[in-house]
C-alpha cells in the first residue's frame, strides 16, 4: 500500500465511514419499520389471537424444521404460504379444521418418511396458530415464493 494511506489515515477512514453507514442503516431501518406496520402487514389486523398464534409457533420451535418466509431449517416445507397452498387463505374456519386435522395426524409413523412430532396444543391455541399462519400469508413479500410449492 502506498505511503498516502498511512495507518492513522486508514483508521480515521474506518471510524468515519462506519459511523456514516450506521446512520444510513438506522434511517432505513426506521423507514422499513413504518413500511411493515403501515403497508406490508396491514392486510389483516394483528389481533391478540394472531399474537398468541405466534407464541404457539415459537413455543413448539417449529422454525427448527420448517422455513417461514424462507428462514429457518430446511428439513420440512415452507409455512409462510401454507394457507395459500391449502386454498384456505381467506377462510378462517376451514383453515383451522385442516390445520387441526394435520396436526392430530402427526407423527405419521410412515417408515422412511420425515416425521413431524405430536404437539400438545389446545383448541384455543390451535385456532390462534391458524390465524397467525393466515396473517403471515397475507404479508407483502415482494412476490416471494415463486410458486405455491413454497
Amino acid at each position: 500500500m502506498a505511503e498516502i494511506l498511512t495507518k492513522t489515515r486508514a483508521r480515521n477512514i474506518f471510524y468515519g465511514g462506519s459511523i456514516f453507514f450506521v446512520v444510513v442503516f438506522i434511517a432505513l431501518t426506521a423507514q422499513s419499520h413504518r413500511h411493515i406496520v403501515k403497508t406490508s402487514t396491514a392486510g389483516m389486523p394483528l389481533t391478540e389471537q394472531v399474537a398468541l398464534g405466534k407464541h404457539v409457533w415459537e413455543k413448539n420451535s417449529c422454525i427448527n424444521c420448517h422455513t417461514l418466509h424462507g428462514e429457518g431449517a430446511y428439513f420440512a416445507p415452507e409455512i409462510g404460504n401454507v394457507m395459500t397452498r391449502w386454498g384456505v387463505a381467506d377462510d378462517p374456519e376451514t383453515a383451522y379444521e385442516i390445520l387441526d386435522g394435520w396436526m392430530q395426524a402427526q407423527p405419521s409413523g410412515i417408515e422412511g418418511r420425515r416425521q413431524m412430532p405430536h404437539f400438545e396444543i389446545t383448541e384455543e391455541e390451535m385456532r390462534a396458530l391458524s390465524e397467525f399462519l393466515r396473517w403471515a400469508d397475507q404479508t407483502d413479500t415482494q412476490g416471494w415464493p415463486p410458486n405455491d410449492a413454497g
Binding site: 495507518k7 450506521v22 418466509h69 424462507g70 413479500t141
Partner: protein, 449 residues
C-alpha cells in the same frame, strides 16, 4: 506465556472444545436423520437436535473469542488482566447457562426464534457474562499499551455484546421480529465477528511470521473498514422477502456483493505476511490453521455467499439447501477454523511445553477441511436440484426431497469425516504425549536462512 493471568484462556479453550464435540455429534445425528428419518423421531425430534447443534456452535465460538481475548490482551497491553476471578466467574455463568439451555431443550422448554431459543434466564445470564467480560477486558486495555489489534478486537467485542440486546426484542409483528432478528444474526457474522476475526488473525500473523507491527496494523484497519462499509448495509440481502420495502433488493445486492472484499483481503493478508515474514515459527500447525481459515472463509463466506446474494438469484434459492451449504462452509472457515488456529497456537504455551502432536493436528485439519468442502459441494448440488424442481417447476417439497437422498447420504459421510477430524483435533491438544505419535519428516532447510 509472559503473564500469569493469560492462563484463564486454558479453561475457556477446554470448555469450548467440549462444546465443539457436542456440536459436531449433534450435527452428525441430524445428518443421520436426513438419511434415516425415523431415528429417535418420537424421543428427540429433529428440531431439538438442531437447536443443540446450532446453539453449541455459537456458544463455543464465543467462548473461543473470549478466551482468545484473555490470552492476547495481556501480551498486547503488557500487563496482567484486571481480574482473573471475574474471568472465571464469567466462564462459569456461560457454562451453566449453556448446559442449562441444552437440558431444557431436551425436556421441551425453549423459545422459537432460530438460534435465539435460549430460555430467558439463559439470555440474561449471557448478558451478565458479557457485561463482566467487557468490564474486565476494557479495564485491562485502558490501563495498558494500546495497539490497533486490541483496539479493533475490543470494538468488535463491544459491538457484538451490544447487539445481544436484540435477542430480547421480539415484536408481535412477524416481519418486525424478522427484521430485528437479523440485527443479531447478520450483524454478528458479517460485521462485528469479522472485526474479531481480523484482529485475531493480525495477532497470529504478527507472532507466527514476525512481520512488522506497523504493516499488520495498516492492513487491519483497511480490512475492517471494508468489512463494515459493506456488511452494515449488506444486511439488506436478508430484507428481500420478509415484508421489508423493495429498495432493499438493490441496496442488499450491491453492498453484500462488496462483502466479498474483506474476506479476500484477509486471505491475501495471511499469505502476504507469510511470504514476507522472516520468522520460521515452530508451530507449523497453527500456521496451517491460520492460512486455512482465511482461505476457507473466502470461499465459504465470500464465494458461496455471493453465489446466492443477488436478489434475482435469491428469489429462487432462498431457504434451500444452497443456504445450508453456504452457512456450513462460512461458519467453518471464518470462525471454527480461526478458533482452532488460536487453540493450536496458544495451548502449547498455556500448558508450558513445546508444540506437540503437530502431525496429528495437521491431519485433523485436512480431514475436517476436506469433509466440510465435500459437504458443501453435495449440499450445493442438492440445493441446485431442489431450486429447479421446487422453485422453477413448482413440484411438491416432500417429493423433491425424496429425490435428493443420495446427496444426503454423501453429506452424512462428509459429516463423519468432520467428526473424526474434530475428535482427533481435541485429542492432539488435550492428551499430552512424550513423543510425536507420528514422527515429522526432516526439517527442510529454507534458502537464505
Amino acid at each position: 506465556m509472559k503473564y500469569q493471568s493469560q492462563s484463564v484462556a486454558k479453561a475457556y479453550f477446554y470448555c469450548a472444545m467440549a462444546l465443539f464435540g457436542i456440536q459436531v455429534l449433534g450435527g452428525l445425528l441430524a445428518g443421520w436423520i436426513y438419511v434415516s428419518p425415523n431415528t429417535l423421531s418420537e424421543i428427540v425430534p429433529f428440531n431439538v437436535i438442531r437447536m443443540i447443534h446450532t446453539n453449541a456452535l455459537i456458544v463455543w465460538l464465543l467462548l473461543g473469542f473470549f478466551g482468545a481475548a484473555y490470552f492476547l490482551v495481556p501480551e498486547e497491553s503488557e500487563r496482567e488482566l484486571f481480574s482473573v476471578k471475574l474471568a472465571y466467574l464469567q466462564l462459569i455463568i456461560l457454562m451453566v447457562g449453556t448446559l442449562g439451555a441444552v437440558g431444557s431443550y431436551l425436556v421441551g422448554i425453549h423459545g422459537g426464534r432460530e438460534f435465539l431459543e435460549q430460555p430467558l434466564w439463559v439470555k440474561f445470564g449471557i448478558l451478565v457474562a458479557a457485561v463482566i467480560f467487557l468490564f474486565n477486558i476494557s479495564m485491562t486495555v485502558l490501563a495498558g499499551r494500546k495497539t490497533a489489534i486490541t483496539n479493533v478486537l475490543l470494538m468488535g467485542l463491544w459491538l457484538l455484546c451490544l447487539l445481544w440486546v436484540f435477542a430480547f426484542i421480539n415484536p408481535e409483528n412477524l416481519s418486525l421480529d424478522k427484521m430485528y432478528w437479523w440485527m443479531v444474526v447478520h450483524l454478528w457474522v458479517e460485521a462485528t465477528w469479522e472485526l474479531v476475526m481480523a484482529a485475531i488473525l493480525g495477532y497470529l500473523m504478527l507472532k507466527l511470521t514476525g512481520v512488522d507491527r506497523e504493516v499488520v496494523e495498516k492492513w487491519l484497519y483497511v480490512i475492517v473498514a471494508t468489512a463494515l462499509f459493506s456488511g452494515i448495509l449488506g444486511t439488506g440481502h436478508h430484507f428481500y422477502w420478509i415484508g421489508t420495502p423493495g429498495y432493499w433488493q438493490w441496496i442488499g445486492s450491491i453492498f453484500s456483493t462488496f462483502e466479498v472484499i474483506p474476506f479476500f483481503l484477509m486471505m491475501s493478508f495471511a499469505f502476504v505476511m507469510v511470504w514476507k515474514g522472516r520468522k520460521n515459527h515452530p508451530n507449523k500447525a497453527a500456521l496451517l490453521w491460520s492460512l486455512g481459515s482465511s482461505t476457507v472463509a473466502f470461499f465459504g463466506a465470500g464465494v458461496w455467499g455471493f453465489l446466492h446474494t443477488l436478489h434475482g438469484v435469491n428469489f429462487y434459492s432462498h431457504g434451500t439447501q444452497i443456504t445450508a451449504a453456504h452457512g456450513h462452509l462460512a461458519f467453518y472457515g471464518a470462525y471454527v477454523a480461526l478458533n482452532l488456529a488460536v487453540f493450536t497456537y496458544a495451548m502449547p504455551m498455556l500448558r508450558g511445553r513445546d508444540p506437540y502432536n503437530q502431525v496429528l493436528n495437521m491431519a485433523s485439519f485436512w480431514l475436517m477441511t476436506g469433509g466440510m468442502t465435500f459437504m458443501t459441494f453435495v449440499l450445493t448440488f442438492a440445493g441446485t436440484i431442489q431450486t429447479h424442481m421446487q422453485r422453477v417447476l413448482g413440484e411438491n417439497y416432500m417429493e423433491v426431497q425424496d429425490s435428493l437422498s443420495l446427496f444426503y447420504l454423501m453429506r452424512f459421510g462428509a459429516g463423519a469425516a468432520v467428526v473424526i477430524g474434530a475428535l482427533l483435533f481435541i485429542y492432539s491438544l488435550v492428551v499430552a504425549r512424550k513423543r510425536e505419535v507420528i514422527q515429522p519428516g526432516p526439517a527442510q532447510a529454507v534458502a537464505g536462512e
